[in-house]
Amino acid sequence: MSDSRVWSNAVLPTLGVIVAIALWWLACVVFHIDPFYVPSPADVVETFLKTPRYLVDESWVTIQRVLIGFAIAVAAGLGIAVVLAASRTVERMAMPVLAAVNAIPKVALAPLLLVWMGFGNAPKIVMVVLVSFFPVIVSTMAGLTSTPADLRELARSLKASWWQTFVKVRLTWALPQVFVGLKVATPLAIIGAVIGEVVSPDHGLGSVIAGSSSSSDTALAFVALVLLAAIGVILFYLVAGVERLLVPWARSLSS
């Protein structure tokens, strides 16, 4: 990588994070904030080092739930979007219902999921799916319906079947939009897992947050939040990375 690319891809983001942490620390010191309300970065690191193995294990539980739920949401979202894009009738019927399901506050749904599905991974994974599937559907549909007319004409003139047009032209053209949806859905997936875990705590970082509030351990809650933020950032950049590999032509089209 050239020097300027190292600077913009690695150094600048790191610098941004360091500046943010420094400002946080400064605020805690200057305003004499009691750690009970806002712990300083030093408090957070210290608390993490008290039980690092436990926190890493809990992080892993949350990550697994997020990944499984996200995979299901993407698969289901793509499938539903393809069906909706293929049939106007189905789209007209299904869209209001999907929008309504998406509008239901998931925080209210979480206790119900506990009663329906009990403890364990299942209700959390369902929550992840419910929270993150809608952006995938909307963006995929937007992508599928935005194929330029001249490309479809080209496919027709080359005697492509409906299926070939759909997969090789419409779906491929939709990929950049699909990834927009995936990038929006990634943090939502994490939020979904945490809502599930906070409402019915068993394992995972959401349970750590719930447990820390019972013992008024704000620093521990902050550790969990920092870990969740880190997971969010990593997953986001992973999705962006997959996009760069799968859709390399999109960047050259727009830049």
Binding site: T51, A71, P111, L114, W116, S214, D217, L245
Partner: protein, 346 residues
Amino acid sequence: MFRRSRVLAATLLAAVLVTASACSSSDDSKSSGTTGSSGGSGALKKVTYVTAFGAVGRDSFAWVAKEKGYFKDAGLDVTIQKGAGNAQILGLIKAKQADFAALDFTGAEIQSGKGTFTNWRAIAAVHQQTLVSIMTTADTGITKPTDLSGKTVGTATGSVSELLFPAYAKLAGLDPKSVKVQGAQTTALNSLMAQRKVDGLSTFLLSKKALETASKKQVVVMPYSEYLADLFGNAIIARDDVIASDKDEVQKFTDAIMKGLQYTIDHPDEAAQIMNKDEPTAAIPAAVGEINAMKPYVSPPNGAPLGHMDQERVARSIAVLQGNGLIPAGLTPDKVVDFSFIKASN
């Protein structure tokens, strides 16, 4: 195209690996309510128990009973799940996602009286008195209930401490209408008091130490039990169909968990350590504080065995709730307690 298919293959492989590891991970308790099937002689019967309020000192006796092997000796493999208050717990019991639970008995009586959640019976008491109290910091100058007139009291929305406040106020000579009751999330209460956004709290006296730590001031406690002496605090309940299908199992469970409770109040530090081992978010000093705070309330009067629930007291507690309009007429003690599990007092 060649490159893309490699990426796709790699992504698929990663997905398969993650799913495989998730399916084989041992953290998932996978326990739902049992339906009475046991796994043959020698196998432990799986049951689910939900704590009253997560992993805190007042619930530590369940972990103690498990760690010390009392459950195992009783032939039970108990999965302890962290509960979050009466509404959630009674919902889990109704949905058969849990077999046993600890919860606030008075709050549960109210739900049973209203007819919302009736498929449970108490099998032992944990606290012989209600632990709901008014708590305030010394700097408010409030030392008796009547001082609350014209002030604001913070309480957990929908909790038994909110429901009982009018009854307590009337008995303490305070006009409940002269007090503003501010509902909030349970976990926010101590901060609200520490920041003097309210003048007092109506909450469980077990969090006295936590409030002292948060506010860095002395805390004044005015227990509701001074005026509402017939109300119980936490109790252990069992689902009615679990009792019906295997009374013996319920008796063994009761004996084992009471043994755990006795050990806990005799060894608070060890109990807190045991709970912390399983649940690292449960801070040990706070847990020890809670166990010590609840000690005076655990032993029944007149030397009755641990967990005893006096039938007449239960009847009186129902009368108190009915007299204060919290439940309609019709609730009887046998609808909330299964006295066949309560050992007679000496």
